[in-house]
Structure formats: structure tokens, C-alpha cells
Symmetry: C2
Subunit: 401 residues, 2 copies
């Protein structure tokens, strides 16, 4: 038996549990938004929205597609869980919702659809519409064939898109939510700072990313679903790939971009490193991206839009004659999902309001197909946006073996 | 800067990369199945099926719902990727598919739908049907609203369920796939064996699960998406929950169930531990479950069905007067997803054939709402099924602090 211990790490103090009032406020806001959208109820099947409204926390439901899980919230605030029998104690332990209907799943011929029909038959009807997770950036947590079957079972209630309501609902974060995002951001910042201490000569991208994830976990991350790495001599060509078996070596520039998770909330930022000294070109681009990030943060305030945040970043780069990266945007919303609306891009006129959490993510092309990207996470306030973790160093850190 | 190193772990030798022939065989089988199902093409949007057929490996696409990713395979073997521009280098590096169409995403008003329309307009039509991921146990990797829009754009081609084809395609694993499942099973078995060496007095469930995940990663797991824990004095009440902040202490029985991942394949098994000595009742149930597992493994052979595997396990428990657990089945398929068809339950008459990978998972109720579960992963052969990792010890391991 191996007696070797997993390395201990200093642990940051965790934010307190969500209060019951937190959920009451979410439900109250959801009900108002439903009325505005002329919906009698919402049918929720996805992790982020179910956890957000009901408090139900599980790894199980989202890792196995065999059994769907449903949550129904009416415009008048009545909340009902329709879940597989195996999940009953998990639901009771984590959710404030007491009205729970179960069925013995797996039962492919009828995975809770009859129960849902019953639940919706008792919904108070004013508008005749149920909102489901159908619209842009949504993913439904049940088979589409069952969704279409359910649509017929619910008649004369009609099923329409309710995702825009959920998007609006989750756009502005509460102080308790921001505390969680800040917590995971700080853990990731600690891991990035520790990286020069655990990278080793001859590490492959995979080796380094394994250690990086283990370090995140030991500092208090719950999960490390997204840990991309790009590396190459004089720069990398993709910011969303990896890890591969490529060995890191002198002359490399590499980035790690991490979406780690704590208590249902993500961080999403990156750091760049150079193994040995850097070229003048890389130093110049790195510095321009640092200044573009400054411009983005400065512009990210009430009165401006997501598009303004893009433009402020892009101006720094285009003024210097730099080609913008191929990511399609310079940052996005962040919260219970790694990427949430809005998009910092031309055309996204979402007004910024206090409590929104954004990534500021300028990226630039250089050399022969190389890309460099910076990313920071901020929260919008009445005044200047606040960084959710220590800023990346102005100069690219040099690692020497 | 922390100079502390992440603890090194012994590393098992990894299976070699998938060959090009592996993908050719998958495509060839997919084409045959499409013909049997009268489909002209498959539209793929989910991680497991896209990775299985195209070889495309990414963390990005499946962690951010902003941009959908599409893969189209025709009945005549023509393969096309329709992906966001940001993914081009990632696709080229990992997939054998060379026909790639990109669009600058995010573009909410048209996320690649016009490109898909073009691609499908060139599909050779014999049956007039396109199969999409709609059926039981499927999840679509795009917004439902876009899927319905696409359905209209494809006319006169009709969109029908193609998931049954993909399920059949992935049911029997190749030797290279089995090598991956065995690899991650062995890593998890090593971590389970090491656990008594890294659990510490006063650990909460969360503490232990963090160390458990870090250990898995350092031994070679890529990701640790599912790491449930149940604990309690004299036994646990849920096998799918946690980790919570509950402190582990003398008199506890606990289980960890892990779905860890290597190169796109999962293990899914658990181990039970007792802190201090156990009651006669727990020892008896533990022993009966061990024997039920034996019966399941023995029955898991060609000529029998998934239902037979359930019945053999259940008989051991019911003959002893034990109430079956509330999980709804006694094991399931395993592969690129944590749970795949079939279900070891009454009514699932899927015939077992060599190359299928199953979990054997008997569970029993006892005491006041307590449940105990065993789980092993096996591969079906011409003769007796083979375990994919070392078997759990016959007696529940005792941990003493």
C-alpha cells in the first residue's frame, strides 16, 4: 500500500453557504421575469439553472445521461422536483424544494413524462405558455425526442423558449455568488503563481496540466473541467487545445487557461510563461495585450456595453497595427457556466450593470499563425471594475530550469 | 512563490494512440448501420459521438455552450466538420477529417446553420432521412431552437432519431478502447489502494475527495468528473451524493464511487471502507454483495442478456432476504460516457457479446434507510468475463487512525 501523501497546500477560507434568503430572492426575480415574458412556468433540465433555482447539487445527474432530472417553477413561485428515485436523498440534503415526485428510473419508455404532465396540469394558467431551455447558448438536459413528446402531452399549454428569462436572471450576480467566483479565481491565481515551482525539465504538456489540476484541487477547487494549454517555440497556435504529449523546452512560450470550479462557480483566466528569454516581438505583443486589458477594464463600467469593452481593447491593438485574434470576441460573462452572456464583441449591446462578472480577453495574431492571449476576471461596480484575482505580471514570467 | 512540489506518483504505461485504421473501421461500421436504419447521413453534436467518429479531442467545445460544433457523416463515408473558426487548429491537430467548414462564432443569429444547409444539400439522397441525436439517453450539443430551425432548413430531407445507430455502433468496444478503459480502471484501483495512506483524522468528505482526485490525476487520469462519496455512522444513505463538509470519524462506513477519465474513456467503480471495526450486519451485507458480484460476473457471458446479469445478482440478495437498493439497476454499459446502454435490469434483453464493457453493481438496503453498493468493471469475452481492475477485497477494509 502506498503511504505517500498527496502534497498539502495552504487553503483559503471558503465563503459561507448560500442562505435560504438567497434562493428566495432568485425565485422572486424569476417570477417577475416570467410575468414579463408571459410564461406560466419554467421547465428546467440543465445543471446551472437547476442548481441556481433549487439549490440541488449533484455530480451524478450531469455525468450520466441515462436519467433526466426536471425542476418546475411556476410564475406564482410553486417549486416542484420530478426526479429519479435514486436521487431522493441527494435532493433532500441539498435543495430547499420539498415537493418531490420520483419514478423508478431507468424506465426508457417513460422517464418521468407522466409525472411532468400531472405537475403541469396543476399549474395556474394565465398565459398558456411554459418556458423551456431552447434558445441561444442553451443545452437541454433530456433527450430531444422526449422533449417533443412532452410538448404534445402539455397541450393546450404551449412550450416556448424560456432561456432568455434564465439568462437575464443569472446575468447580475449576488454578493454571495461573486464571493464564490472570487474564491476560485484566487485559488487559480495561487496555482499560476506556484507553477514555476512545480514545472520540471522534460515535462510534457500533459505532465504539467496534471500537476496544475492537482494543485488546484489541493488548494480548494472542487473540479478542474477546463485546463487548456498551448505551447510552441516562440509562441503557441491554439488557445483552446491540449494538453498533448509535446515536451516543453527552452525557447517555448506557453499559456494555461483554466476554468476551475468551486461550489458551482467558475473562474476563467489564463497566464503566459516563457521558458528562457523571450523575443522582442513577443515582449511587444505581451505588453500591448496588457495595455488592451487595462483599456477593457477601464471601459467595463455602467453606461457602457459589452461591445464598448471589445472596442476599447481592440483599439489598443489596431492602433499598434496588430491583427486581432480569431476567438471571435474579447471576453464574456462568467458564473455558473464557463462562458455566459454577454459577448464582448461588435453588436452585443448588453448594458453593463453592477454585479455582472466578465472576462477581459484580448488576443492578437503575430508571426506565422501564432496567437497570444491575456485574460482577467472582473466584476462590474458603480465605479471602476474590480479584478477578482491578482493581475498577471506586466512582463511575461521567465522560467529557467 | 510556493516551491512545494505536487507529490509524484508511480505512472502506468499508457496505451498507444488510436490508429487511423481504428477510425476507418468505426466509419465503415457506421455506414453499414446507417444503411440498415435507412439514413443518408448522421448529424453529430455531442462529445462522445464526435470524438468516437472524427477523433476530434477538445475540452473547449464541451465546457462552453456559446458555440455549437457539428460533424456530418454520410452513408457513403463522406465526413465533414462544421465548426467555429476558433477551433480550426484544434480540429486539424486531432482529427483525421480534412473537410472543414468554419464560421466566425459567436454569431447568435446564425451559428453555422447556413453551412450545415450547404453540406446537407450535397448529401447523396437515397432514403431522404438524416439521423440526429434525439433518442433515449441522448443529449443534443446545440440549442433545441436551432435544431428545429435546421430541421426546416434541411427539407425535403427529414430529421429522425439516429441515436440508436450510434448506441449500437459504440456498444462493442475495440481492443484499443478496452485498453483505455482498463488503463483508467487500474489507475483508479491504485488510488483506492493508496487511500488508507492519505486519509487523515478530521478529514471532511470534501478533504478526502480533493486528495482522491489529485491522486488520480498524478497517477495519470486526465479528468475526474465523477467522485461521489457517501459516509455515515454504520453506513451511508446515498451513493450518488457528496462530497459534503461532514467529518469522517470512527464508526463510519464510507464509499467513494469514481468516474475518472483517460483519453476519452471512463472507469466507473466504487470501494467501501470502514473507519474502525464494523457491525456484523454490515459485514454480512458486504459479503452478500461480494457474492452477488460473483454471480453477476459469472452470468455476464454470451448467450445471456443484461436482464440475466441483474437477475443473477438479485437472486443472491433476495434469497438471503435482503431488500434491493433503489438505484433501479445492477450495473450498465461503460465507455466514452460514464453510463451507457445496456441497463442490467428486468426488461433489458440486450444480448451480451464479446467486447461489451459492463459495470456489475449490486446494492442492498439495510438498517434505517442505509444502502451498501459494490461495483466492478468487466469486459465480456467468449468465455468468462474479465475484470478490468483488481477486485475489491472480500472483507471491507478497516481504516484506523
Amino acid at each position: 500500500m502506498t503511504k505517500e501523501n498527496v502534497a498539502k497546500k495552504p487553503r483559503r477560507r471558503e465563503p459561507p453557504q448560500f442562505s435560504r434568503a438567497e434562493f428566495e430572492q432568485r425565485v422572486e426575480r424569476a417570477c417577475k421575469l416570467m410575468t414579463s415574458a408571459r410564461l406560466d412556468a419554467l421547465l428546467i433540465t440543465s445543471e446551472a439553472n437547476m442548481e441556481y433555482l433549487s439549490g440541488f447539487v449533484t455530480q451524478f445527474a450531469w455525468n450520466t445521461p441515462t436519467r433526466p432530472w426536471y425542476f418546475v417553477l411556476t410564475r406564482t413561485g410553486k417549486a416542484t422536483a420530478v426526479i429519479p428515485e435514486v436521487g431522493l436523498s441527494n435532493w433532500r440534503e441539498t435543495s430547499w424544494v420539498k415537493d418531490i415526485h420520483t419514478w423508478p428510473s431507468p424506465r426508457p419508455e417513460n422517464e418521468g413524462l407522466d409525472l411532468l404532465k400531472d405537475v403541469f396540469s396543476r399549474v395556474k394558467r394565465r398565459y398558456g405558455q411554459v418556458g423551456a431551455e431552447l434558445g441561444a447558448e442553451s443545452r437541454i438536459g433530456m433527450p430531444v425526442a422526449d422533449l417533443l413528446r412532452l410538448q404534445r402531452l402539455l397541450r393546450p399549454l404551449s412550450m416556448v423558449d424560456g432561456f432568455h428569462v434564465l439568462r437575464t436572471l443569472r446575468l447580475v450576480k449576488s454578493p454571495a455568488e461573486i464571493a464564490r467566483i472570487r474564491h476560485i479565481c484566487q485559488i487559480a491565481a495561487d496555482t499560476f503563481e506556484a507553477l514555476p515551482g512545480f514545472i520540471a525539465p522534460n515535462d510534457t504538456e500533459k505532465d504539467l496540466v496534471r500537476k496544475f489540476q492537482a494543485d488546484l484541487l489541493m488548494r480548494g477547487a472542487d473540479k478542474t473541467p477546463y485546463t487548456a494549454i498551448g505551447s510552441g517555440q516562440g509562441g503557441y497556435e491554439s488557445i483552446i487545445m491540449g494538453p498533448t504529449t509535446r515536451r516543453l523546452r527552452k525557447g517555448d512560450i506557453f499559456l494555461i487557461d483554466t476554468g476551475a470550479r468551486f461550489d458551482g462557480y467558475f473562474c476563467d483566466f489564463d497566464r503566459n510563461y516563457s521558458i528562457g528569454k523571450t523575443s522582442d516581438e513577443v515582449r511587444r505583443i505581451h505588453d500591448l495585450l496588457f495595455r488592451a486589458t487595462d483599456a477593457g477594464i477601464k471601459t467595463a463600467r455602467p453606461g457602457n456595453t459589452a461591445a464598448d469593452v471589445f472596442k476599447a481593447q481592440a483599439r489598443v491593438l489596431t492602433d499598434a497595427g496588430i491583427e486581432l485574434g480569431n476567438v471571435g470576441r474579447f471576453g464574456h460573462g462568467l458564473g455558473k457556466v464557463l462562458t455566459e452572456p454577454p459577448s464582448n464583441k461588435i453588436g452585443d449591446e448588453t448594458p453593463l450593470v453592477p454585479g455582472m462578472v466578465l472576462t477581459i480577453e484580448p488576443n492578437a495574431m503575430y508571426g506565422d499563425g501564432k496567437i497570444l492571449v491575456h485574460e482577467e476576471n472582473i466584476v462590474i461596480t458603480q465605479g471602476r471594475a474590480k479584478l477578482l484575482s491578482r493581475r498577471a505580471p506586466r512582463d511575461i514570467p521567465i522560467i529557467t530550469f
